[in-house]
């Protein structure tokens, strides 16, 4: 009886909360799409001009604009696109002779693989570093880990990536300097070519997550309930994992959500340095070629992933911490 009542109330609070968040996420997405459409409309030139380049004749530009539908008023173009995306069809790319869905699907897989592996490694690493650093507060290990993570936070990713390439590819010839992702490559080939991008990205995100974990855990370790548990003779590992972590998990998962959503859309520098065919470079490409349907759809994906991550983080925090359910 005592066990079932809170569970029902947990569900009772979580479900409306998630529903509300999903609804507001949809509104946010809509607003973002309007903002992106408006701002990208302010960019000089359009897709027709970019395709034809310097040597365009006015007749060509007019003909191509008509074919692309760029001669229609802005709001009609917007609502056509919106109607499409609601039905799940993001339309045709202006530039490549392909549907946006087709273009994104291959890149999305690549980005997901990169982000997924990096996330797996960095979350585990961050938790280990953060917790061991927090329980050794002031000790040698803590100092070393602190220095290292602070140094990594301060180091820009292009520096880490460039140094990595210089050492491991150019000097030692161990790893390829560019991430060649081809469908026929085996898993081991792929891991080898992804090693440097994963290494650089892990360095970037692990530091932030580890710092956040350390702060949250350290904060909890000072609480009276920890002392109480110690006095009761609970083993220290149990105190950390079952007493402290549920209380510390809120800020930790939030930091993780932010870092992980960054992995998908913010990896542009890493994608550029390693020539990785990911989603971020596709979007930058879409901006320079003024390929609106592609740009909009990429933006929707990034925004959607971000919102989903934050939502998951909040839900986890609430589920882990009974006090937040009230």
């Amino acid at each position: 009886m005592a066990g079932s009542a809170p569970r029902r109330s947990t569900l009772g609070t979580i479900v409306p909360l998630i529903a509300k968040r999903v609804l507001s996420a949809l509104v946010t997405l809509l607003l973002v799409s309007v903002v992106i459409f408006t701002i990208s409309g302010l960019l000089p030139g359009d897709a027709a001009q970019e395709v034809l380049g310097q040597s365009a004749t006015p007749e060509q530009v007019t003909a191509l604009r008509h074919e692309m539908g760029l001669d229609r008023p802005a709001h009609i173009r917007y609502f056509t696109w919106l109607g499409g995306i609601v039905r799940g069809d993001p339309g045709m790319s202006y530039i490549a002779d392909m549907s946006v869905g087709e273009m994104i699907s291959s890149r999305l897989g690549n980005s997901m693989t990169l982000a997924g592996i990096t996330a797996l490694i960095s979350v585990v690493l961050a938790l280990v570093i953060g917790i061991s650093s927090a329980i050794n507060r002031g000790g040698k290990l803590d100092q070393v880990l602190n220095t290292v993570t602070l140094a990594l936070v301060a180091m820009p990713e292009f520096l880490i990536a460039t140094l990595g390439v210089f050492v491991f590819s150019v000097k030692l010839l161990w790893l390829p300097s560019i991430a060649m992702v081809s469908p026929e490559a085996s898993w081991s080939d792929m891991l080898r070519s992804l090693a440097l991008p994963i290494l650089s990205l892990t360095f970037v995100v692990v530091a932030q997550m580890a710092r956040m974990t350390r702060a949250a855990v350290a904060d909890q370790l000072d609480r009276p309930y920890v002392e109480m548990a110690k006095l009761k003779g609970v083993p220290f590992s149990r105190i950390v994992l079952f007493h402290v972590m549920p209380n510390a998990v809120g800020p930790v998962v939030n930091a993780m959500a932010l870092s992980l959503s960054y992995l998908l859309g913010g990896a542009i520098i890493i994608e550029t340095i390693f020539n990785f065919p990911g989603l971020a470079s596709l979007m930058v490409n879409a901006v320079t070629s003024r390929d609106m349907p592609l740009l909009q759809t990429c933006a929707m994906i990034f925004c959607g992933v971000y919102l989903a991550m934050v939502l998951i983080a909040d839900t986890v925090a609430i589920l882990a911490n009974p006090r937040l359910r009230a």
């Binding site: 380049g53 003909a63 590819s169 161990w174």
Partner: protein
């Protein structure tokens, strides 16, 4: 782990050794030239690929596109050495008596990758599609010269131009005029070229495998060529030095020392007519004032620009668009040199002392930002106050180029003197960058275009260069060399001054040797 890399290279080399032995018997006929080996697979990286990559020669706009198109298709003519003279390719002969009506006789028995035979219909279709605005051909303006293109029999084509043009064979050697299959609205790589298309993913890569039935015997030598794009220059050079690619283009002059420090890699410098020019609009003041133009031309420190900006990988320019190594270059034209006293005199005579002028520069025009800074420095010494406005590369050509009194332009090498003059210096040209107007020049342009006599043509182009050098509001400080980095085991490379990668045609000529 070092061993891991070696074995990767060994796989390539053993494959080569086997294929090489087979090929030795076949290619002994080339006199003193080194013998080309058959086999090998290389990866080449160009400046950048994007979603706009295309298999349609007419739409090609980047080095990656040109390279891909030359792998898959052939032109009627081709340029394959530094003489820049067109040679017959799919056209056995191309001749004309009046430079207006041209008679083309095609090679017999040439087959497309799908097995169908090349006929005059394919050529007619390939040439005429440039006139369709929906094809969005980069050569639409040039194709306006085709008054009529028709087949004459199975292997003959007649091209009638709207006016005489002796350069037609050269123009047809450009990648845009490569021959596609009749009726293909969106060409899919089915050409007559040295490589068959195995894989094409826009923005990612192109893979070509040797066309075993290529109509030129003994070519190509390579088994497989993969073309990828690496936009970041540092990454491109790193990829070369770590053995991930075997050749790349657009190496920054600053990286050349790094590449050459390693005995396994080398730089191929291709002198080219690529230039970044400072433009002064002639229909505005003070840029339209001849004294202003002269003063600016006199205060450009060309040797400094050549040395500091391009590490000597450049040729000094003389404010006219024909480079010294190109046909028709006028050797008698005095070289403009840095002369601040003379510049000051022009400034004072024109009443221009203290004039404040914004100059628009951008990374879109290679080297222009640094050139503008150099100009600013010398300007302050002669009483001209230049303000350097550095603007973003994105959208530069549509928003800044030709929209301010003083700005930088950038012009890729064009295959003929006529093209460069008619595109950028003809008074009525859309990109008459400086909006100058010179009737004599315009008359000479038309006369030279139709002139069949080479000596007379040279005289005409010589005089046009003098007029541009003296009167036009365009300063051309240097011609910029194109730098390719390559693995020394890649043999047979030679510069062709139309572009990097042997004028984008390296895949057909090079071979791999350990």
């Amino acid at each position: 782990m070092i061993g891991g890399n070696l074995s990767r290279r060994d796989i390539i080399s053993t494959g080569l050794a086997g294929a090489g032995l087979l090929a030795l018997g076949g290619c002994g006929g080339e006199g003193g030239k080194p013998r080309a080996r058959r086999g090998g697979s290389i990866r080449a990286a160009t400046l950048g690929l994007s979603n706009a990559d295309t298999l349609d020669p007419a739409k090609g706009g980047t080095a990656g596109d040109y390279t891909r198109h030359f792998m898959l298709y052939n032109g009627l003519t081709m340029i394959e050495d530094d003489s820049l003279r067109p040679r017959p390719s799919l056209a056995r002969t191309i001749e004309s008596d009046d430079q207006i009506t041209w008679r083309i006789d095609l090679q017999r028995g040439v087959r497309f990758h799908d097995g169908s035979e090349l006929t005059s219909e394919d050529v007619v279709y390939s040439l005429l599609r440039h006139k369709d605005p929906l094809v969005a051909s980069k050569m639409a303006t040039v194709a306006e010269q085709f008054a009529e293109v028709r087949a004459e029999g199975r292997h003959g084509v007649i091209v009638r131009l709207t006016a005489a043009n002796a350069d037609l064979p050269t123009m047809l050697s450009q990648s845009h005029f490569l021959i596609v299959r009749n009726g293909q609205a969106a060409p899919d790589g089915n050409g007559t070229g040295p490589f068959k298309l195995e894989e094409f993913r826009p923005g990612v890569r192109t893979v070509g495998v040797r066309n075993e039935e290529y109509w030129i015997p003994g070519r190509p030598h390579l088994e497989r060529v993969e073309v990828i794009g690496i936009p970041d220059e540092v990454s491109r050079v790193n990829a070369l030095l770590s053995g991930d690619i075997q050749i790349c283009n657009a190496v920054n002059p600053r990286s050349t020392r790094r590449v050459e420090a390693d005995p396994n890699y080398a730089i191929m410098a291709t002198p080219s007519a690529l230039y970044t020019n400072l433009v002064m609009l002639q229909d505005q003041l003070p840029t339209g004032n001849p004294d202003f133009v002269q003063a600016v031309k006199l205060m450009i420190d060309r040797p400094l620009i050549k040395r500091a900006l391009f590490r000597d990988y450049a040729t000094i320019g003389n404010d006219q668009p024909i480079a010294p190594f190109q046909p028709y270059f006028n050797h008698d034209l005095p070289q403009t040199v840095l002369d601040l006293d003379k510049a000051r005199w022009h400034v004072q005579r024109g009443g221009l002392s203290g004039v404040r002028m914004p100059v628009y520069a951008s990374t879109a025009a290679e080297g222009s930002v640094d050139m503008a800074s150099v100009l600013q420095e010398y300007g302050s010494k002669v009483g001209l106050n230049f303000a350097v406005n550095r603007v973003p590369a994105d959208g530069y050509w549509s928003t800044h180029w030709m929209r301010h009194p003083m700005f930088f332009g950038n012009c890729n090498p064009r295959p003929t003197a006529d093209l460069i003059f008619s595109l950028f210096f003809d008074s009525n040209a859309k990109w008459n960058e400086s909006r100058w107007h010179n009737e004599r020049f315009d008359r000479l342009l038309i006369e030279a275009r139709g002139e069949g006599d080479e000596a007379r043509r040279g005289e005409l182009y010589g005089e046009m260069q003098r007029i541009v050098h003296d009167k036009c509001g365009v300063a051309i400080p240097v011609f910029i060399n194109l730098l390719d980095g390559y693995d020394r085991r890649l043999k047979g490379l030679r510069p062709v001054p139309l572009g990097g990668f042997m004028g984008y045609r390296f895949a057909e000529y090079v071979w791999w040797e350990d």
